[in-house]
């Protein structure tokens, strides 16, 4: 052992993040190359992570991907948001009414994160994309939340998004958009694929949004403009969840409310992500 260099503890995290970012199983050579470390070190890192269950060998037995314990860690994080289990029956009801995939987004710092979803009943439907984190103003769910936050928090978001610089035109544009969203009570954003779109409703306690319910798909509910009858059905379901939260305000608990939003955001990702 003495002749071998110590495995830096931090390389554990680099390796895990590499397995996430590469989007496909990675082998010892991939990790060694991408982290710029000797093959023997990469081998030891992967073996250690594998032994602890945070990575697992893929079906070929030669490459590694994220293991069950990593997924359990993510699940544990999501469970800190007490709204998650409470929202699932509402997501299921909405998914069945509309046939489209439904999801629950919550705010983490300046990001919106998808923590639950229910797949649509249509033969062809959107995936749930659970775990996706994006800057608040970049998704329908994030905009629905942002539009129902106090002005100083919107200001804080804009400062973070601009990397400390203020852009008056960006500020005007976003404020205008948020006013529209707040007036309509919902927000629609076209999907990246161009075919699907997403409609989001804020979930509020005392006027302040702490989560959003999203409908993701290709049907009339997400058309431009969305079909009014579908919107009002969806709104009824969201109102049902809001009533449950009003009765049990602990459901609106934000596990990171005691932390500085800029610091939280720095951990999650950059504004351009």
């Amino acid at each position: 052992m003495a002749s071998e260099p110590n495995t830096s503890v931090d390389q554990i995290f680099d390796t895990l993040h590499l397995l996430v970012d590469s989007g496909q199983p990675s082998g010892v050579a991939d990790v060694a190359r991408d982290l710029g470390i000797p093959t023997s070190t990469a081998h030891r890192l992967l073996a250690t992570i594998n032994d602890a269950g945070f990575a697992v060998r893929d079906s070929t037995g030669t490459k590694y991907e994220l293991g069950v314990r990593s997924h359990m860690l993510v699940h544990g994080l999501f469970r800190q948001f007490r709204i998650q289990p409470a929202a699932v029956p509402f997501l299921a009801r909405l998914a069945k009414q509309l046939g489209e995939t439904t999801a629950l987004d919550v705010r983490v710092g300046w990001h919106v994160v998808r923590i639950a979803g229910f797949e649509g009943w249509n033969e062809i439907h959107a995936g749930t994309r659970i775990g996706q984190a994006s800057p608040l103003a970049s998704t329908a769910g994030g905009l629905a939340i942002l539009a129902h936050l106090p002005a100083d928090e919107v200001e804080g978001y804009l400062r973070w998004e601009g990397g400390g610089r203020r852009s008056p035109s960006r500020t005007r544009a976003l404020r205008g958009r948020l006013d529209e969203v707040s007036e309509a009570g919902w927000v629609r954003e076209a999907g990246e694929d161009g075919d699907s779109a997403e409609l989001a409703f804020p979930v509020r306690l005392d006027g302040r949004a702490f989560a959003a319910i999203c409908v993701d798909g290709t049907g009339p509910i997400v058309a431009d403009p969305p079909r009014a009858a579908d919107v009002s059905r969806a709104r009824k379901v969201v109102e049902g969840l809001e009533r449950a939260v009003a009765q049990d305000p602990a459901l609106a608990h934000d596990p990171f409310a005691h932390l500085d939003a800029d610091e939280v955001a720095a951990t999650v990702g950059s504004p351009r992500a």
Partner: protein
């Protein structure tokens, strides 16, 4: 090929003691041991309790937590005295969960149950007011229980059904009991009082058993496959000829079978069930 996750990938907890015998250096092993403990699902963790659970000194735990904190994997909770999972864990969420294909997902657990017992192991999922058998592995003997693929059973008949029903929320069980309950044999439970008593028993023990309410000469035991919220994914059942899989033999096997089911449950709880309503 899409990523696969099976119950076989659930590891045993990282071995206790101070990390000797693990590949890599000790500090790395300790960080992963603490992180494993944090995956347990509690709201927050104290240094003293972690040190006791992991058999590490408080100083070792504290150093591991500092490392995890530097990467945002843990943060102090609002009291400042305890630790909770931090937003840095979201770095691991980016890849999303591997797709859930329930029969593939449960296959390793079914095979293990067959290895333990030599008997047929099957998987059933809820559909409306019924449970449907969707897969299984056949027992080894000349005589073995068949895999009734596609068979639809009311949720109060057969242990596979009752393991599912008992995992439903109470309001859904009440709704199920609003309609008349079919009778398959003289022993079928057909009153709400009988069903509720059975539901309590299954919830308490964690499994459902056969008592001649359906087939004669078959013995078996069913475990729920729980999901992340509200409704379960389904149930897994081991069944065989009653003379071979008698009560004494089942009692001998139950703890090992329960361990297999619990290991499957650890990962099945990461996923929501596709089921949502008895009124289908």
């Amino acid at each position: 090929m899409p990523p696969r996750t099976t119950a076989e990938t659930v590891p045993a907890p990282v071995e206790r003691a101070n990390g000797d015998g693990l590949v890599g250096n000790k500090a790395t092993a300790r960080v992963l041991m603490v992180l494993s403990e944090l995956a347990g699902g509690d709201a927050s963790y104290g240094v003293t309790e972690l040190s006791r659970q992991l058999g590490m000194t408080k100083n070792m735990v504290y150093r591991a937590l500092s490392t995890l904190s530097r990467h945002g994997y843990v943060v102090r909770d609002p009291s400042g005295a305890r630790y909770q999972l931090g937003p840095g864990v979201l770095r691991l969420a980016g890849a999303g969960l591997p797709d859930l294909n329930l029969p593939d997902f449960c296959a390793p657990a079914l095979r293990r149950m067959r290895e333990l017992t030599g008997e047929t192991a099957t998987l059933a999922v809820p559909w409306g007011r019924s449970a449907v058998t969707v897969g299984g592995v056949r027992g080894r003997g000349v005589l073995a229980r068949r895999i009734p693929l596609g068979r639809v059973m009311p949720l109060h008949i057969s242990p596979a059904s009752r393991a599912i029903l008992a995992s439903f929320p109470d309001h859904a069980i009440e709704r199920y009991l609003e309609q008349p309950l079919e009778r398959f044999s003289g022993l079928t439970l057909t009153t709400p009082e009988q069903i509720w008593r059975e539901v309590e028993t299954v919830r308490e023990r964690g499994y459902a058993t056969v008592f001649g309410d359906h087939w004669r000469g078959v013995n078996g035991v069913s475990f729920p496959v729980p999901a992340s919220a509200e409704y379960p994914h389904g149930s897994i059942t081991v069944g065989g000829p009653a003379e071979r899989l008698n009560d004494a033999r089942l009692e001998e096997l139950i703890e090992e079978l329960r361990a297999v089911a619990e290991e499957l449950a650890q990962s099945s709880r990461l996923y929501p069930s596709e089921y949502s309503d008895v009124a289908e």
